[in-house]
C-alpha cells in the first residue's frame, strides 16, 4: 500500500509538471487526465471509494472531455509551436517554490507525528446520509449553482445574431 502511494505520488508530480510545462496544450490536457486519475487512486487509498469513483466520472469522464473539445475547437496549428510561458516565469518559479516550501514547512510543524491510519471502510452509505441529512442546504444550493452554470454556458456559447 505504502509503496503504491509513493509510486502514485511520484507519477502525480511528474504529470502535474507535464501539465504546466508541455508545449502543446493538447499534450498537457492528456497529462492532466493522468494526474486526475492518479488523484482518484490516492482518494481510494485514503478510504474514499465513492469520491474516487466520482472523481473518475466527473473529472476524467466529464470535464476533461469538454476541455479536449474546446482545445481542439480553438487551436490553430501554428500556436502549438509558439512559446507557451510568459516573461515572468522566473519570478513565478521563485514564488511557487516559496509557497510549496512554506506549505511543507507549516505542515511539518503541525502534522509530522505518526497518525495511526484507520482501516478502510465503504463510505457510500454515510456520504448519502450526510448529503441528504446534515448537508441538505448546501446540497440544494449546489444544485442551484449547477443550473446557473448550465444556463450561463448556453448563454455564453451561442452565436450572436446581430453580426
Amino acid at each position: 500500500m505504502s509503496l503504491i502511494f509513493y509510486v502514485f505520488g511520484a507519477l502525480l508530480v511528474l504529470s502535474a509538471l507535464g501539465v504546466v510545462l508541455l508545449k502543446n496544450v493538447f499534450h498537457s490536457a492528456i497529462a492532466l487526465v493522468m494526474a486526475l486519475a492518479l488523484v482518484a487512486g490516492i482518494f481510494v487509498m485514503l478510504g474514499a471509494d465513492f469520491l474516487g469513483a466520482s472523481q473518475i466520472l466527473v473529472y476524467v469522464g466529464g470535464i476533461m472531455i469538454i476541455m479536449l473539445f474546446v482545445i481542439m475547437l480553438s487551436q490553430q496549428p501554428v500556436e502549438a509551436l509558439q512559446r507557451q510561458v510568459n516573461e515572468q516565469w522566473l519570478l513565478a518559479m521563485i514564488l511557487s517554490i516559496a509557497i510549496g516550501a512554506g506549505l511543507a514547512e507549516g505542515f511539518k510543524k503541525y502534522f509530522a507525528y505518526h497518525f495511526k491510519s484507520p482501516g478502510l471502510m465503504p463510505t457510500s452509505v454515510s456520504i448519502g446520509r450526510l448529503l441528504l441529512g446534515e448537508m441538505i442546504v448546501p446540497f440544494e444550493a449546489v444544485s442551484l449553482a449547477l443550473l446557473a452554470a448550465l444556463v450561463g454556458a448556453v448563454l455564453f456559447s451561442q452565436e450572436q445574431k446581430d453580426k
Binding site: 508530480v13 504546466v20 496544450v25 488523484v39 515572468q88 518559479m93 514564488l95 511543507a104 448537508m135
Partner: protein, 101 residues
Amino acid sequence: MTLYHILALSGVVFSIGIFGVLTRRNILGILMSIELMFNAANINLVAFNHYLHPGNVWGQGFSLFVITLAAAEAVVGLSLVLAIYRNIKSVFTENMNLLHG
C-alpha cells in the same frame, strides 16, 4: 504513507498549479492548472478526514462539493473561452485586452 507525506504531496501539486497559473500564456492551460490546485485541496480534505476524523465523512462531502463546483466553473469558463476565441481568434491571454470585443 503518513499524513505528512500526503500533505507534502498536495503542497507540491498546489505550487505546481500556481506556477502554471502564473506562467501559462494559453488560457486553457491556466484553466487546467486551476484544476490541479482544486485537486491538491481535495487531497488535503480527504487526508485530514481519513487520519484525524476517521469516524465521519464530512471531509469527503466537502470534496464532493469542490468537485461539483469545479465542474460548473470549468463549463462556464470553457464556454467563455469559446466566445472569446470566436471574437479575437486567439487563446493567448496577452491578446485578451478588450472588454468590448
